[in-house]
Symmetry: C2
Subunit: 113 residues, 2 copies
DNA sequence: CCTGTATATACCTTGACGCGTATATGCTCT
DNA sequence: AGAGCATATACGCGTCAAGGTATATACAGG
């Protein structure tokens, strides 16, 4: 389990991360919200913790898990070079649609929902 | 192979995508730049094509592959909610460093590369 | 202390994915 | 038409990760 991309390839792990973006959660809370068996949650949390996506603090018997930013930032960093590319595509699409607007002005109302 | 995240979990596929962000490439060119056996490249390209990451046009015997924006945009969309979170963390880090600057003003030159 | 609750870990099985090798398809040029 | 190049596909294999079930650890409260 090397790269951050393999970590977030797992749907349940992404779900856990999305839960934690709201606030920190205990294992039991995650378990109930995602309707997953407890060992499954614990195992995914272990993977996430060892990869640096989350950290935990102890609260009596509970463990509270919260997000750590670095690994997701790594994903964003890899993604960054593509942003230029696809924003260019948006522009091209918009120009195309604008040209369509000019040639078929009757359909204008359907644009810009 | 359902989600876009599983697609980009594979290192060679990420490498191919990163190559294609520069310009469109033929299979052979990808093969040589990444030093991968040809069937490997073709198979990864198939996966990428079926997932909508790339498209190809025919140029005699060659096929030229180029990026398509949508799937990577999907990744960015999933990532977006976390941006708020980690930028808050950056701010905290910056405030911390600023405080360090004040206490040790001699090292100021090393910040703000 | 003992019971109940919360979380972690161990073991096993299964399925999927990536790779290598071999072969097929298709195009070009002479 | 035939040779050579470019790309795609088929098949068998090894590996690894996810899930399920069972069990271990640890804390709390009567």
């Amino acid at each position: 389990m090397e790269s951050v991309f393999e970590i977030i390839a797992e749907p349940n792990r992404r779900a856990i991360l999305s839960l934690l973006v709201l606030s920190q959660q205990s294992v039991g809370e995650i378990e109930r919200q995602l309707r997953l068996p407890q060992p499954t949650v614990s195992k995914h949390l272990r993977v996430l913790r060892e990869a640096g996506f989350v950290e935990s603090t102890v609260d009596a018997q509970r463990r509270l898990y919260r997000l750590k930013p670095e690994p997701l930032r790594e994903v964003a960093a890899w993604l960054a070079p593509f942003r230029r590319f696809w924003s260019a595509h948006v522009d091209a699409l918009e120009r195309h649609l604008d040209r369509m607007d000019q040639s078929t002005p009757t359909k204008k109302k359907t644009r810009r929902r």
